[in-house]
Subunit: 198 residues, 4 copies
DNA sequence: GATGAATGAGCCTTCATTCAT
DNA sequence: GATGAATGAAGGCTCATTCAT
């Protein structure tokens, strides 16, 4: 195996970890699996990540950063009115680059563990304070003073999360586009003035 | 240890399994943990359930049966018009008897594994064909011929699932009642004619 | 392998540990060696001693207790005058039951590690406060007020320790009796009034 | 890293090995520790010493040569009568340049392993044939034909060894000077004609 | 010479499973 | 039925050694 720089190897190993998590789930993922998947020796994994725990938490951090960057970019590229921003925020969750079966499955594996691992909880979606604040802000702007923005924001957020899980676990799958349209439909139901997609 | 019947012991061990899954997560649950939690000896677990795999899949089956019975009972006790039936179906998901922190956490643990375990997938919520069919039927009745009942049913279903996960993983929790109200608000958004709760 | 009580197995494993330490030294002693030497599976070692560290420190504690009991018994069985007590204390160090090649070698292995392991230091001979106090007390009684009892006691003590090490490491060995006589000769040199052995 | 000659690098690595042995003991000394301690890269150790085993045995050889040179020089510088030679031989063992805590601890680490490693045994003190022969010769000269020179020489030798070990392992330490005086006191006890120090 | 990534053997440890009592 | 000792497979981790750069 040729030598790569520190960062390249780490990225390679993290991608391999995502693949293995998707195939075998959290509980049965071993360092040998990850090494095999990357075509490297198992000793190298501990050389670059001091332990299995660290490899996994850095993999989650990697996914988490990727997720945040995705919706930030989407907001930056959208028109600045609340309706367009909210639509962009929701659609961002279903971009094909991010919503690969592997990444969704890896997220799912982490979610299952997060409930018993405070360190994971922090990085799992619902606890991204910035994301939640943004969503609530947009809902508040669209609802006016009489709406319950926190609740509507939560409904929209958990719908997206539920759809992600659904995409992974369900036996009879539907397309990513259909998932996105479902999320947009939910938004449209709360804000009838916005014209729904489809 | 006093002697209990076969079924009582099995139920005792399954409840202990739920507790341990909630505390330690799927990956780190061991048979010793379960035995300790039940106050029983190590070897007894394998005596009653032939293997760890069997203990876990029967625990999931137990939770699954409990879940199905819960919504069936709720439907049976509700008025027969579609609006009342749909409301009852959604509210059933948030009954305090079922939505204990332990049970929610145990479900979460199984969901994380389900993506890589076909045997688990079948029993995880979104794949309960009967439940989905009922939900779609009610949505169709309320939406009329022009609505997309499959999509609306899906939105309502994943919202409930997302709320369950949210109740488990989020750092800053809200009440079960608030979760229920969020689900009802989502339904109300899709069917404005139905008067919302709160 | 038939089943033995907890204490019997622990003693058996500790004896096996002593044997292996004597043959392979501290650094190259493995749990598999110990298990093989005892004719048991390696898993059993961790079942009875939670870790390798614990097995080793309990082995040292076992040797330490054995050592203390040996000289206490010797003192109790000797005449009560200081000369007889001192002679008994020194001779006790060379009783064949205690000074087997295996035990001496195991002690030696622990000594080598003790310098970098405070936990071991406490149990290695020179730090047995009771033993040192007794030795100094007897030397003081025999020397009278003008002698340097602390120094003489130290000389006698380190001679015994040095002889133990010598018995283990030297290429051209001499007998246990000769070692004992050397220690007694050293004592006799400090207390000419006592008639030397040989 | 500046470039040093082959021999300088080797000496640097050997001194680092002594330091690490003193801190971590034999069993837990790794090549990485040694490289870190010397401020050199990992791979360099194996470049200069073909293996860990070789590094360690050359470190022992280095200490051994140093030890022999020390007492040879001491004998050469002392008066030629047996009493002065013997005194010089004993005092040489406690010269502060040689008896640093690090060197004593490193010796101790090797002693612990020597019992199971014939290669080490040869270089550990008691087996230095030349030293033992010299000591016995001096004792014989001082004792006359009726003394047991082998035994007295042994007593003196093991006392010095025991004091070295004591200096390393004991919890409540005393000074190097006190150790030297203890050794001299032992010699004086065997040869009352020689006036003791202190 | 020097570096540090890469390899793989070996070890400790965990734990599901078996089984004698 | 019930217990807990015993087994052994499997995985994480360490670390000596190699080698491309």
């Amino acid at each position: 195996m040729g030598k790569l720089s520190r960062e390249e190897r780490r990225a390679q190993l993290i991608e391999a970890t995502i693949k293995v998590l998707a195939i075998k789930g959290y509980a049965r993922t071993t360092l040998s699996d990850v090494a095999d998947c990357a075509g490297l020796s198992h000793g190298l994994v501990n050389f670059h990540f001091q332990s299995k725990d660290l490899l996994l938490s850095e993999t989650l951090a990697y996914l988490s950063v990727e997720y945040v960057q995705n919706w930030r970019t989407a907001l930056a590229n959208a028109a600045k009115d609340p309706a367009a921003q909210l639509t962009a925020l929701i659609r961002a969750d279903f971009r094909p680059e991010l919503c690969t079966p592997q990444r969704l499955a890896a997220w799912c594996a982490f979610w299952g563990e997060a409930q018993s691992r405070p360190l994971y909880q922090e990085k799992c979606g619902s606890n991204n304070a910035e994301y939640v604040a943004k969503l609530e802000e947009l809902c508040a702007a669209l609802l006016g003073p009489n709406g319950n923005a926190v609740r509507v924001a939560r409904a929209i957020r958990v719908t997206a999360e539920g759809l992600w899980m659904d995409l992974v676990t369900q036996v009879d799958p539907y397309s990513l586009v259909e998932a996105e349209n479902t999320a947009i439909a939910c938004m449209a139901a709360f804000f009838p003035a916005l014209s729904p997609a489809d």
